[in-house]
Symmetry: C2
Subunit: 337 residues, 2 copies
Amino acid sequence: MAKPATIEDVASLAGVSIATVSRALNEPGKVADTTRRKVIAAVAQTGYTTNAMARNLRTRKSNMILILAPDVGDPNFSNILVGLETAASKRGYGILIGNTQNDPSRETDYLRFISSNQADGLILLTGHLPFGLAAQKPAVRLPPIVAVNEPLPDADIPFVGVDNVEGVRTAAEHLISQGHTRIAFLGRGASAIARMREAGYRKAMEGAGLRIDPSFVLECEGTTEGGRGAVERMFVRDRLPSAFLCVNDAAALGVIISLSARGYQLPRDFSVMGFDDISYASFVTPPLTTMKQPRHDIGAASMDLLLTMLEGIEPRSRQVLLRADLILRNSVAMHRR
Amino acid sequence: MAKPATIEDVASLAGVSIATVSRALNEPGKVADTTRRKVIAAVAQTGYTTNAMARNLRTRKSNMILILAPDVGDPNFSNILVGLETAASKRGYGILIGNTQNDPSRETDYLRFISSNQADGLILLTGHLPFGLAAQKPAVRLPPIVAVNEPLPDADIPFVGVDNVEGVRTAAEHLISQGHTRIAFLGRGASAIARMREAGYRKAMEGAGLRIDPSFVLECEGTTEGGRGAVERMFVRDRLPSAFLCVNDAAALGVIISLSARGYQLPRDFSVMGFDDISYASFVTPPLTTMKQPRHDIGAASMDLLLTMLEGIEPRSRQVLLRADLILRNSVAMHRR
DNA sequence: TTGAAAGCGCTAACAC
DNA sequence: GTGTTAGCGCTTTCAA
């Protein structure tokens, strides 16, 4: 077989019309039993597979989902990606990935997949609409979109992610349950995620009737460097917390490094908590107590939501929040008063 | 604009034929300057974008590359993925990813993208041909393929990856340069990678005129558990090495954990080296000295090779080996005799 | 239950 | 340099 078999080859071999072949394959119920069997046999004999390009052209559907992420190499994203892929594959969809590196021109460029009909829907891990879609009169018609991980500001787009408020609240409550009262929150920031995590912290403190020392809430980027810097700034103060609740594991790691470098013993001298459960959280010394993001589930839920929308069904809820799980390791100790 | 503009809309607006529009867009040289400008203007006005499905159907090309990987969530793969994506995007290609989880039926299933013309080429990070392609009379015609990371056995498929032999040799030579002579290699195994890494170790030892104590070469899987187990088996012996050269960082991590648990101080009592430079290598205590895989470059080189093949150019060499870089951290110390 | 035929939007051969 | 036209392989009316 030099050339792949077409629907015509199958039709003539089975002695039916191409319409019947098409129906036998796509709507088996509408075809007589004996006819269908003949078609199946002919398909097997010719090794026929539907030419997706032709079908897509005709049906204006690609069965492809475009995923835009700032950095697929980031474990946080790559694990969500696995969930996305698994769910898509299960329903016969393929995924197309665009690594945007937060470059607006790249984001816009990937929209060609949408406008050229190569993708039916869009998953955004970027935290914002790509430029071409954001414009008032968008350059491209809006396909079904789901935002993952980070909700989109100023846009009514369905969202799937971890429940940051409840997650950090759980974390803070764990610290409180260990007797800590002077708990610092490192990671105040402008991003939606930072704000929600801080809100969780405040909720827990309030709920426990604990006063928040304003100097215990520090701005800090969610990076190892950020965590490090925050500790340095903290240590010019008189009053010190007994526990550090960090906006994420990367920052917590910086805190641990910085504290260790200052000669403190953890968790004896200070307790530290992170959020995310990144892969090396368990390999730090001491192993980091943190909240685990259900990354695979987040990916799967997002894709399910998007595919549901693609089927024309309005989702029951435009927001899916998944619970983070408390992972007890060794960076938190009972507070000795 | 309820419906997206087609080439006909552009043609009639510009007052030319659809063929001219097509040419103006795809072969600008073949069109008169003034005509081209009219077309460009009409395109801008209508917001036209080529319908990729129609073009693909006509040209029998999809400008899509299928990437098969056992686990995209694995940082080792996800970082290669970034390189692949970047290189593809630069040349106007999109990437389609298939997460196979080493499941043969999933591998085969993804070939539908090939057989249905949705992908022009294939990148394999799986270490073997998918079942549908491996069969004597393959179910699918072989598209251009490049194997990455792990060469395919028994198949003449172009390969791109790190130079494992030279890499481990460099690692061993570093240990030797620090005065170590009793160097153990943990990670003997059947896989191509394990064999090459062991070969690098032997080469270095031979090159330095050092005898290899056969009991110093241990089988062990490239996992933290594997490294742990190997140390335990080692310690029932009388003779102990002064340095552990591990098949990868995961195993090295197990070694460090096991050695630390036994109360040894590293790197004072033993030196440990890994291979890969995984993300938490720098966060272990002591930070791991290792060989860094140029993952991004591996991805980019693979994609470049594949796209070159797709253009019908036979690659100059069917094997691209990239050098691993020595990353000096703190798990290796001068040997005190 | 089946077949004939239109047509999805585009590129490329051919003619002018 | 430009236009006409065939046809890529398929799904889907419409008629029988």
